[in-house]
């Protein structure tokens, strides 16, 4: 029994199909309870008013936006080293999820920023880094869509993912250097754990768990779709040949 057994597409599809209802259900449960708790039952924070409730979406979405890229990086490396198709397809499946999470983090941040900082958008390092991350996701997805041959597409997007990761980290430091922004101040940041009182922290943890589970469920679902789509393409090509 080893992890690599799941590199077999059929085995992966079977296991994913078996797991999906549980992971999906658990994700829905965590999100419903966590977001419901956060939205209805938490008190207003002294200096944030009711906008404190936005962190239950903003923080987990931002976390997943970065972790989705990390997962793509690992999956790309596995594809480049061990040539398991499932790995490449999982990276492809994760990209639109990461893109959506980045978008959610940006939008909720902007909405929160308007009453708090007096502006929807500031060229603050974190906001800027997320915008750049958003562009990286767009480029990655566009490259997948553009290339016909599935193996070449997997290879090229993996190379892009590796190079892009290095440049994404580089951009993060460059942007930090370029502008010391609003976000870092501890009085404004709820991201640091010590600033968050328990009343807010517990539902936040639940929401983070919900987002992680949602991500896993979506990756399983979309990877299964990609595996089938790949098989479909191969079968159609074979029919044309024969």
């Amino acid at each position: 029994m080893s992890l690599w057994e799941y590199a077999n597409p059929q085995k992966f599809t079977r296991t994913a199909s078996a797991l999906l209802p549980y992971v999906g259900g658990l994700a829905a449960l965590c999100l419903a309870v966590g977001l419901g708790w956060g939205f209805f039952l938490t008190p207003e924070a002294a200096n944030f008013g009711s906008t404190v409730k936005i962190i239950y979406i903003h923080v987990p979405a931002a976390l997943m936006a970065i972790n989705a890229w990390l997962m793509m990086l690992v999956a790309s490396l596995i594809w480049l080293v061990r040539r398991h198709h499932v790995s490449a397809l999982a990276a492809r499946a994760a990209a639109p999820i990461g893109l959506t999470m980045t978008l959610i983090a940006l939008v909720t941040g902007a909405i929160w920023g308007e009453p708090m900082w007096g502006t929807y958008w500031a060229w603050d390092p974190r906001l800027t880094s997320f915008l750049i991350l958003f562009l990286f996701y767009l480029g990655y997805i566009a490259l997948w869509e553009a290339i016909e041959n599935p193996d070449a597409a997997a290879d090229l997007t993996s190379v892009l993912c590796l190079v892009g990761s290095v440049f994404a980290v580089l951009s993060r430091y460059a942007v930090n250097f370029w502008n010391q922004g609003l976000h870092q101040g501890a009085s404004l940041s709820l991201d640091k754990e010590e600033n968050v009182a328990d009343v807010y922290y517990q539902p936040l943890l639940l929401c983070i768990a919900g987002f992680v589970l949602l991500f896993v469920a979506l990756v399983l679902l979309r990877t299964r779709t990609e595996i089938r789509a790949r098989r479909l393409k191969a079968l159609i090509a074979r029919e044309r040949m024969g």
């Binding site: 562009l135 480029g139 490259l143 553009a146 070449a152 290879d155 190379v159 892009l160 590796l162 942007v175």
Partner: protein, 218 residues
Amino acid sequence: MIALLVRDLTLAIRAGGGFGLGLAFFLIVVVLVPFGVGPEGEILSAIAPGILWVGALLSCLLSLDRIFALDFEDGSLDLLATAPIPLEAVVAMKAVAHWLTTGLPLTLAAPVLGLLMNLDPAGYSWLVASLALGTPALSMIGAFGAALTVGLKRGGLLLSLLVLPLYVPTLIFGAETVGRGADGMATATPMLMLAGITLATLALLPFAAAAAIRINLR
């Protein structure tokens, strides 16, 4: 390798687009900006470093898709891939040729355009120095992007989408160097970071670009 460089250069010059088009584009971008923001000298000198760097970056982008496309179409890229010199060196030479035909002329022309943008006199030397240091990275990153999209029929737009985010660190440090230089502040940190990025891209990206070309030729 030298022969390859000379060949690429002569091709670029004979095709005409090499030197002229990028420079003309740079000029037009810089001329258009004052129409957009107004002719006040103070505003212009405040935004000059950024505009000059963004303009240089966009002009660099113009000719990127031609780095490999022509050789891919007529099959000489296949020959180069099987040639005795490593493909990594071929890629590096292509990037050097691209730099000589776009980056270098842009660097040399930048002071004249700085004049149009009312750049602070202290900034000129930093403008030339930062462009000279930074544009090789632009060419090399661009060669990587071109290598990724070489097999695609309509790769131009995709190429911009892939390459522009990768240009962010170079742009930030480059424009920061000029801006600080113009304000009379210390420029060592952004300058060193810029040099570091350029050296790292020149050292590492040829391998990634060559890998991408091998995949595309498969």
